[in-house]
Symmetry: C2
Subunit: 417 residues, 2 copies
């Protein structure tokens, strides 16, 4: 079994802004996912305000845990006390790390700034501890190995709060030390298979028992709107077996096996084929275009987007016949087809996808309740297809679910499914 | 002073999915904001896995805190042990709450479902405690007043995890009890003033000292991309004074004083004037349209959106001259103006806003680095305006910052600023 059962890891996040609700704590979910890949778990996560409050929670945590990871409180202000309090709690002196000081001075010099006196304390380290270089900010991290801890056998990491500083430091300097501490000798690997078009319950029914029987494999599901991620960890061999089991049943629903999003997959597939995409959006109101253009390099494949929110716009920009809108309604198979075909014509793209639906809260009827949408898929030289979908959710989730269905229709077309 | 200094509140969130990183913990930020309005603070927040792990953290929390709020673990499965463990820790018996059981049976009956045997335990209450009705789900909440707690003088709330069940229960049943517990007799009020176009430092320099001098007023800032929220709590009188101070300096930057977003404000202002909006987006790739169409009722004001990601699309859909694109570049004042004017013409709207810029990571030059954007604002019968903006950020933050600037340009026009 690859899970490292014996290692208790606790995370302490410091930051008054997290407790006032000004800032959402995304660190602990991120840590959870990173540790999962090593077969490790967070046993407890605690958030405390800036300042002295960290003292009690640190004392408690080191008495329980094998590894304590503290984020935040390494800054230059008087509220940033993580370094000082940790030294007190562990009974260690502080010492100026001259190399860290030079590197901080260089950080400011490169930006043409003078280093303030207050920043000097950020280069203080604990005697005997490792200073963890921070190429993306001023405060180095600190690693106190268990042998320096006079209170317990617990290792302590002090890490900066900002994600752009924290994440690379964890990957480069924390994970190798965690592996050594946890005795993760068999190198675990992680694999995330993203699926769309099926629900989590299909996995429970379809592959759960077979996955559970693979020696050395751990797995978990993560369900989003219109997407289920199957996360596997284990040895290379057990991963290959887990992957095989999942794909035997569900390969046609696979978005990616490299954590790429559906929009990244669509952009990559189209770019590889030299194809152009056009979008005609009514009920999603620009969300599909927004998702596609979040992908760097989207301009290679995406040229024209038509947000035809009003009926007149559907006719003017996409040539949808006003009679068809009158006869069938704007949310209809006929109009979805005509929108997709109009977008193909007006853009010269190879593929166009259209959506028209009722996002709510108003606008529903008995025949077409809120949550109803039609999706059109027009491909140069092929007959246009249309699909009816139904996602009775709140407005934002409805938009997301419909955008997912539209991108999935394009993916399936590109994969020939 | 309206802050209730003496009351120590701790939050315990249970849920393995939070620690595995499958689900982001949004509860604690939400609680932070709700408690802030009462002048209360979270002293500590802890996340523990499902199951028995809640025991230690609950024992510790009730020994330190005046109020402990636990979320999650009230479900029907064997891992849902919050109710049972709290009874043990507080030394209370459990009893079937017949009213809660009836109401749960009704919940299932209305949905045409049979209630499973496992659900019965959700109607168990602690002897003497209050059962908190849950109209949006199956598990009632539980409130244990301090007098029932034989271990300490701490009050304990057990609440369901799903936000749609949790939030109304907090508003309707938890906050009134918290007010009573905390002795919040002066009814505090909260006011959120949202600003855009200025940074947090302008507030520090401009109004900080004057706000700090208002008796009975507490305030805090919350900075987002392209937005600063000033949050005030206090008596009606102190709020009015705080509001006056902030608006004397910054009224022209005010988005709303009722927590409306910038897009909600724009939709409302346009609807009130019976005006229509058109959008011509290049670098934001649909995000502005997406934001506008997140607002219920957007169809009253928004008709046409043009996502002209390719240069050809700018010419074909908006009539931008290819020579102008060739001469000035797609990211230029000339093209931004032409895009906005083209959108106005093609849509028949009263106002059109356009954006064209370099989102990166590629495509920058010395003259026009990544982060550069031009914004055009065309108004029927008026000369078109254009603004250059510069937001050197990552791709997603750049899109958000530019969308904010575009919506703000529309707001300022509508307000005659």
């Amino acid at each position: 079994m690859t899970q490292v059962q014996g290692v208790r890891i606790e995370i302490i996040n410091t930051g008054t802004e997290l407790l006032l609700g000004n800032t959402l704590n995304t660190h602990s979910a991120w840590f959870g996912r990173e540790l999962f890949k090593l077969g490790l778990r967070i046993a407890r996560q605690t958030t405390v305000p800036d300042g002295d409050a960290i003292r009690d929670s640190l004392e408690e945590a080191i008495s329980r845990a094998d590894v304590v990871i503290v984020t935040g409180g390494l800054g230059p202000t008087s509220d940033d006390l993580t370094r000082e309090i940790t030294a007190e709690v562990l009974g260690l002196e502080m010492i100026m790390d001259e190399a860290a000081l030079r590197s901080m001075e260089a950080f400011f010099a490169v930006r043409g700034l003078a280093m303030a006196e207050a920043n000097r304390k950020q280069a203080l380290c604990l005697v005997g501890a490792d200073s963890l270089a921070n190429p993306h900010g001023t405060a180095p991290g600190i690693y106190v190995p268990p042998r320096l801890n006079s209170r317990s056998n617990c290792a302590v990491f002090l890490l900066p709060g900002p994600p752009r500083e924290l994440y690379p430091m964890v990957h480069e300097q924390v994970i190798p030390r965690l592996r050594a501490l946890a005795g993760v000798e068999i190198v675990n690997e992680a694999l995330v298979l993203k699926f769309t078009g099926i629900g989590e319950s299909s996995f429970h029914e379809g592959v759960d028992q077979r996955l559970a029987a693979v020696p050395g494999l751990e797995y978990g599901y993560c369900a989003h709107i219109g997407e289920v991620d199957l996360r596997l960890i284990g040895t290379a061999e057990s991963l290959a077996e887990g992957r095989k089991i999942a794909l035997e049943q569900f390969e046609s629903f696979l978005i990616s096996d490299d954590e790429s999003s559906l929009e990244e997959t669509v952009v990559r597939l189209m770019a590889a084929r030299g194809m152009k995409l056009a979008l005609a959006e009514s009920c999603t109101g620009g969300l599909i275009s927004h998702r596609i253009t979040n992908v760097p390099g989207a301009s290679e494949v995406f040229t024209h987007g038509f947000i035809t929110y009003a009926n007149a716009a559907k006719s003017e920009l996409l040539g949808v016949s006003p009679e068809d809108i009158e006869t069938h309604g704007a949310v209809s198979e006929t109009v979805a087809r005509a929108m997709a075909e109009g977008a193909l014509r007006a853009s010269g793209a190879c593929i166009a996808v259209s959506v028209t639906g009722i996002a709510g809260p108003g606008g529903g009827s008995e025949e077409k309740p809120v949550g109803t949408a039609w999706l059109g898929l027009a491909v140069k030289g092929e007959p246009t297809k249309a699909y009816k979908i139904f996602h009775p959710r709140n407005r934002r989730d409805f938009k997301l679910a419909v955008s997912q269905a539209a991108l999935e229709a394009v993916r399936r077309k590109l994969k020939g499914i």
